[in-house]
């Protein structure tokens, strides 16, 4: 697919600006009505989903040219998918998120590159992660746990930690606790250790679409070598890559893919995990974009041509993402109180970290996170809980920057706490 393949989608934009807002039926206040961080922060229409589509069409029709300023607008976007959800409330014939991906591919193809993203790509190529860390250190997060590694014996479940959890020492405890509790609950779980590599999704999102293929092939090789029937990840970005980007690009891992919250939620329901310890806390839950609306599995492409005739079941509306399992886990914790923010589920506000924004435009990432933290604080919650290491990272940094009292947890940390593990 290329930008020109999206021309009809772009030309269909009716400039209603729905993409800037959460779906209007869910607007509950003046303060938390906005949906698009980019448009909210920078205001020019070009920063909205609609504006980016119009820019794409303009360039495609040679009315304007791609340059560094335009590329800057294209990349000042977390690819959070809020615009797509709000657009598809009304439109059957526009796939806005795919347009945004193709705009980035065009930037790369035409040589309008972001330095920080190039560094991420170099790191991915050299060290199999975008964080500039050594590949040799990849498996250190699991040291001492005695988990079987692929190449050893076959396992039922392969656990993919993802780059952020593998290398962010502040967050490692979460995945260590998680795999331990799964193992203790009788799950035959293994890891890829130092052989684990990035899923490649971040390269695709940055516009280096072709680079994802190598990572995907490696991923498929590891899954096959593990003998696993289920692939579980704790990273929402990886989950999105497995559920959407791989199948969209014809890549099939051949196994069931679950986010950790789906597996654990299922086990709690089956009574295989029984949280007993009190977690006396008032918390709110932040839906990670790539687990929620962007985590919706790829719907086989509509082959009927005119998307005006496309049935709803082919639309990536975002409604079938992973929303309830993390909430079910929270609700299963004794003593905890879950209060919802105004913008939740598929119309959630982004944490700010996605799409390469955290690396290239950290001030914008922090601003976006700050907006969410204000929303969390407005609920009266003392902690914001989420289910993605990227969200946890950017929120913790933003809390520190602002001197806020809000605590930030991954939902698995709270579960471990209830089980006495942390």
């Amino acid at each position: 697919m290329a930008l020109q393949d999206m021309e009809r989608d772009m030309a269909g934009c009716s400039r209603c600006s729905s993409c800037k807002w959460i779906p209007h039926n869910q607007v509950k206040s003046w303060r938390f009505a906005q949906g698009c961080p980019s448009s909210t922060r920078y205001s020019f229409h070009a920063y909205s989903g609609s504006g980016k589509m119009i820019m794409g069409l303009s360039m495609l029709q040679s009315r304007s040219e791609l340059n560094d300023d335009v590329a800057g607008i294209i990349y000042n976007c977390q690819l959070c998918g809020s615009c797509q959800v709000s657009c598809q409330v009304y439109r059957d014939d526009i796939d806005l998120s795919d347009v945004l991906l193709e705009l980035r591919a065009k930037c790369v193809e035409d040589g309008f590159l972001i330095l920080e993203h190039m560094e991420m790509l170099q790191s991915m190529k050299k060290e199999d992660n975008p964080l500039g860390m050594l590949k040799a250190d990849r498996g250190r997060w699991a040291e001492g746990l005695g988990l079987p590694e692929i190449g050893g014996r076959q396992v039922e479940v392969l656990f993919h930690a993802g780059c952020r959890y593998s290398y962010d020492e502040d967050l490692r405890g979460t995945v260590r606790g998680t795999v331990s509790l799964l193992r203790d609950a009788g799950i035959d779980i293994g890891v890829a250790g130092k052989d684990e590599a990035c899923c490649g999704g971040r390269a695709y999102e940055l516009g280096y679409q072709g680079e994802m293929r190598n990572f995907a092939d490696d991923m498929a090789g590891r899954v096959k070598a593990s003998g696993a029937r289920t692939l579980v990840t704790a990273c929402s970005d990886c989950y999105y890559t497995f559920m959407y980007l791989y199948p969209k690009n014809g890549l099939d891992l051949g196994v069931e893919v679950l986010h950790i919250t789906e597996l654990v939620g299922r086990m709690i329901e089956e009574g295989r995990i029984e949280p007993a310890g009190e977690v006396p806390m008032r918390v709110t839950y932040h839906d990670p974009c790539h687990l929620g609306r962007r985590g919706e599995s790829y719907k086989e492409g509509w082959s009927g041509g005119d998307k005006l005739l496309r049935p709803v079941r082919f639309k990536q509306s975002g409604r079938l993402g992973v929303f309830d399992p993390p909430r079910d886990i929270i609700r299963a914790l004794p003593g905890i109180e879950l209060v919802e923010m105004e913008r939740i589920r598929e119309y959630s506000w982004c944490c700010g970290a996605g799409g390469g924004v955290l690396e290239a435009f950290p001030e914008f990432a922090s601003w976006t996170a700050g907006d969410r933290l204000e929303e969390a604080a407005a609920t009266g919650a003392e902690a914001l809980v989420t289910a993605c290491p990227w969200c946890v990272r950017v929120f913790r940094d933003a809390v520190t920057e602002r001197g806020m009292e809000m605590k930030i947890y991954d939902v698995m940390e709270l579960l471990a706490s209830s089980l006495g593990g942390a």
């Binding site: 003046w30 229409h45 069409l57």
Partner: protein, 550 residues
Amino acid sequence: MITDAAYRELQETLGAENVSREPAVLDGYTWQPFTDILGLPDSWCRYRPAAVVLPGSTEEVQEVVRICGRHGLQFKAMSTGWGAWNAMGGENTVQIDLKRMNRILEIDEKNMYAVVEPCAVCSQLQAEAMKKGLNCHIIGAGCGSSPLASATSLCGYGWSGLTTSYSARNVLGVEWVLPDGEVLRIGTPGQDAGWFNGDGPGPSLRGAMRGFMGACGGLGVFTRCAVKLFPWPGPEEPQVEGLLNDVTAEVPDTHAMFLIAFPDLQRWADAAYSVADAEIGYMMCKNAIGALVATMMPRGLKELTRFAVFKDILKTLRYQFQFLVCARTPREFAYQKAVLREIVEECEGICLDVSKLPGLHDAFWWGFVRAAMPPLIFRMGGTFGTSYGALEGFDHPAYQSQEGARLKSQYTETGRLMDDLADNSWGGIYEGSTGFGHQEELYVYDPRDSAQLEAAEDYLAGTLVDTAAKKLGPGLGFAGGAIVAEIFGPLIGDYHEWLRKIKGAFDPDNVSDPAFYVSPDPEKLIAEEMANRPGMAQSLLSVMGEEDTP
């Protein structure tokens, strides 16, 4: 083109991050829906702004318009900026995007008004107003629109017009940056007496400010205004899940939605008058059956319209209203329902209690109260247009809807426009017992198909000619640019000359882009229109009997 000197001044005033002349950014303001009114082959409007600016305050707006004046630039302000009337009327025009001015400054519960900036939208205002037991008027474009823009600069009706009237009736005090940069506060804010009144002391300027259609950016910039709020007999914080057609909600026991349909247009209009006399109901609006089906299941309608028998079945429900009762008490609820049933019976209609239809009632209730449904009309064809819609005693709108459908059937039956069963008029009665109302005729097309766009322009021109020939009165087709005033002015009390005098008094240097208001130079305007859109211009000029006169 904007000179470097002018551009630099704008940057110094607003900060470089709030000014752009990047062509790709400017094209975000050049692309608009509804370009059939401009006779264009696609959604690119004719002129790209010379620059776009994002002022954050009234003072910054003042500076921007003064800079434009000093440098021989025109300016055009927009709020949410949805529609071809936001387009530039010529080269050398600066687009003032008011997105940063987005606050709700005050909600006065006691006096029932809100003071808003240009880019606060209706869904936000409604959400905040409801917390105080109030509601706002929302125009037909829906809750993503700006209450300030429709109240000060355009003409908009709404689903709840029965109780909240239409936009021009709801504007109170206004803060207005005149084309020379001076600030004029009309009504009570002009005397620092609050925002509760838009008139006086002394002669009211509300009429000069907006007239019937509004000046569409041709008379300066409106930076704040107060709009009326109305009692809301519903929950302060409605509990709603879902996004649109899937909505489930806690509908109060004293609220209910009805579909009422009548055997013919006469009895349909009679029912409207009776409802007005009885002063019942919260909302009474016709969404044509074709439009309803198209928005809920567009592919289904396409299938159904292939078969004459299905079309005929659907058409049996063409003379209908969606009717919402929102009462405060069970006793009032029972009374309103009883009166409604009596009126329907007298007019030989049928009354379908939608609250008995699980799955639809919640979505309809909240969809119409929040007015979030309008963009659904894009589902069928990609976009739509509208015409007719003069505000008159309700027999007249009924006749207009008949005319609109008659004309349109020639297009829908030949596939030139999307088949919406031809009858796709929308609107209702306003202000209860006054008994006036409107019906605008929607038409649906795909703007990506230049043939359909051309057909839309052709149909629109036809409706305007029809309007003139049958003296149907000014409606929404009158938002078609300054040329419309020149054509219809002589037929309607020379209103165009009055507009020109107002324009001359407030904007003698013509700094505020008049493309959708009135031209200071009508001969030049007509010549340009003949060159730019000969099809539409010829049709319109035929109204004057001057087909050959440029």
